[in-house]
């Protein structure tokens, strides 16, 4: 009983840290580019597949993949930004959402055609196999690692954005990109890097998810819809806010899975409805 509860809570915590990583990337991209990146879930999936392919075809293991896969997806993101998204900045921001939606369909269709519905399993890296018995629950080492490292990456991103020079450019660009450009900063490059960084975070989450979940072409699509709900609940105004909201909702999902499993898929949307009723701007939101 207790074992099951903590098992679900741990899984919730892991999901929550993925929500945090993804909503963080979405918030950074939206802040600067004013584009809601629907392809975020698909690129998370591509990140997981990239890791699996590297292992399957080239024998490249987990640790290099943890670095290489986000790098590759980041490059791909830079390509998307340079060739397509760039043309949409002057337009209404629904076009950005629609373009990235189209990209999602393309990516999912291609991977589904190549690899079908069946999931690919990815082995847990050797150094992180096994686990510790904490008395009230068994803690698999790999899952603990995922939670710790995701949160570390989240906080590192927060630190870079709030405390470094590069981050100050990003924040300035979010306020007023034209003024920043007038000061001699290469703003178009900043846009490219920001998009690349945001989707690299998604790919990073994808690699970490690979040993826990099966790698499938559809793994990103439900996730992105939940992450959208997380973003609505938390508001995109604050980075720490998205981290807290993401982790909190993941835990809530885990708890629901323990109490009443059928509701676990919808509980986030119920919370979204409640937040819209009582605090429409979002828990940490600034805009009305």
């Amino acid at each position: 009983m207790i074992q099951a509860l903590f098992g679900q809570l741990l899984l919730g915590l892991i999901n929550g840290s993925f929500y945090a990583l993804l909503s963080l990337g979405l918030a950074i991209i939206f802040g600067l580019l004013n584009i809601v990146n629907f392809a975020h879930g698909a690129l998370y999936m591509v990140g997981a597949f990239a890791a699996w392919l590297m292992l399957d075809l080239l024998g490249v293991g987990y640790w290099p993949a943890l670095l290489l896969s986000p790098l590759l997806v980041g490059l791909f993101g830079a390509f998307i930004e340079r060739t397509m998204l760039r043309r949409l900045y002057a337009l209404d921001n629904i076009y950005g959402l629609l373009l990235t939606f189209g990209l999602t369909l393309i990516l999912e269709g291609l991977f589904h055609h190549q690899y079908g519905n069946s999931g690919k399993s990815y082995p847990v890296p050797e150094a992180l196999q096994g686990g510790a018995n904490l008395g009230f629950m068994f803690l698999p080492l790999y899952r603990a690692w995922v939670v710790v490292i995701s949160l570390l990456v989240c906080f590192a991103s927060w630190w870079v954005i709030e405390r470094t020079k590069l981050g100050s450019y990003l924040r300035a660009g979010t306020e007023n990109p034209r003024l920043l450009q007038a000061f001699g900063i290469n703003v178009p490059l900043l846009f490219t890097l920001t998009y690349a960084f945001g989707v690299a975070l998604a790919a990073f989450a994808g690699v970490m998810a690979a040993p826990i979940y099966q790698v499938t072409p559809q793994m990103g699509s439900h996730l992105i819809i939940v992450v959208f709900a997380v973003v609505v609940i938390g508001g995109m105004g604050s980075i720490l806010g998205s981290i807290v909201t993401g982790v909190g909702l993941g835990l809530l999902e885990g708890l629901t899975k323990f109490i009443y499993p059928p509701a676990s898929a919808t509980v986030v949307f119920v919370v979204m409805a409640l937040v819209l009723l009582f605090r429409p701007a979002g828990l940490f939101g600034r805009e009305a």
Binding site: Y95, L97, L98, L99, G102, G109, L277
Partner: protein, 327 residues
């Protein structure tokens, strides 16, 4: 949101005297006659599918094209109405007309609930909220014991019109569906061209200004949302009867994306655009079905190309051509 490029063409065409009331009447009469003749040439079930999706897309366009609200969850209304109609006709044995009414009423009420929550946030958040609620509806449908899960709700009888005329034959069914389409299309057309529709357009062009002129913007948005949801439901209910089956695909977020594509491709903010887009997308789904996953890839590519280079849509482009070569 500013006015979509398609509508700018429509406005210019009206200004230059390319679209006149007389020409409009001739055009719509010709279209209506064409609709009567088509089933003698083209497979009726395909046509009925197109009509349902055209009604769905036109209802969606009332929101996106005329009010400036991007709903990313319209499949929830289409699909849930299909399931409700399917269930009351199949399990309760209700007559066809009541089945349609039940599905439409359900979608209308669902539209009221989702709409009143979603309009509390503006812009891109509105899209994310509607997407979220639609996903919730999807999971509820999957979990319902009578919905048939992955297989969908099968074996929905078409019944008899007014208890007299059997609708089992595709030919009769076509004319019934055609009448429903014309009714729905007329409601949308009247809504767009009513004073109410003009306020909707004012909200799309400049919401703060509409607000400062004393219009209760949220109420207008909500009413538009509810009308749109109800008509999307009517389309879904009809579709369930046509195919005799309510499918999980009609509640899935892919369908919500597809209706956006139909509207965008045909020309958002134009009266005929969504129907043209529906014809193309349904034809694509139908004739390319053998390609399997490539259909998804093609739909995605059409999306990307349309957004990047073809934002006026087909009807918008035709109007632009007509402006350059006036007749």
């Amino acid at each position: 949101m500013t006015s979509p490029p398609g509508i700018q063409e429509a406005r210019a065409a009206a200004r230059l005297g390319i679209i006149t009331p007389g020409r409009k009447r001739v055009f719509f009469a010709a279209m209506a006659l064409l609709g009567l003749a088509l089933p003698y040439v083209v497979y009726p079930v395909f046509l009925m599918n197109v009509l349902c999706m055209a009604l769905f897309a036109s209802a969606f366009n009332l929101l996106l094209g005329y009010t400036g609200l991007l709903s990313f969850g319209h499949a929830a209304f289409l699909g849930s109405a299909a399931y409700v109609t399917g269930a009351v006709v199949k399990y309760w044995g209700l007559p066809t007309e009541l089945g349609l009414l039940a599905g439409t009423a359900f979608a209308t009420v669902l539209g009221l609930v989702i709409g009143s929550l979603a309009i509390r946030r503006a812009g891109i958040y509105f899209a994310m909220i509607t997407l979220g609620f639609a996903q919730m509806i999807y999971f509820l449908v999957v979990q319902l014991p009578w919905s048939g899960g992955e297989d969908g709700l099968q074996g929905v009888p078409r019944g008899k019109l007014l208890g007299l005329v059997s609708l089992e034959g595709n030919f009769r069914m076509y004319f019934f569906v055609y009448a429903i389409f014309l009714l729905g299309f007329y409601v949308i057309y009247r809504t767009i061209h009513s004073p109410f529709g003009h306020v909707l357009r004012a909200i799309r062009e400049n919401e703060p200004r509409a607000l400062s002129l004393g219009y209760d913007v949220d109420r207008y948005k909500l009413v538009a949302f509810v009308i749109s949801a109800g008509l999307a439901g009517l389309a879904g209910s009809t579709k369930a009867l046509v195919l005799q089956f309510a499918s999980l695909a009609d509640v899935h977020w892919h369908r919500s994306g597809e209706v956006i594509l139909m509207t965008l491709l045909g020309g958002m903010g134009t009266v005929m655009g969504p129907s043209v887009g529906a014809l193309l997308v349904v034809a694509m789904d139908n004739y390319l079905a053998g390609l399997g996953d490539w259909v998804t890839v093609i739909v995605g590519s059409v999306f990307v190309v349309t957004v990047l280079a073809f934002r006026r849509g087909i009807v918008g482009e035709i109007l632009r051509l007509a402006r350059n070569f006036p007749f």
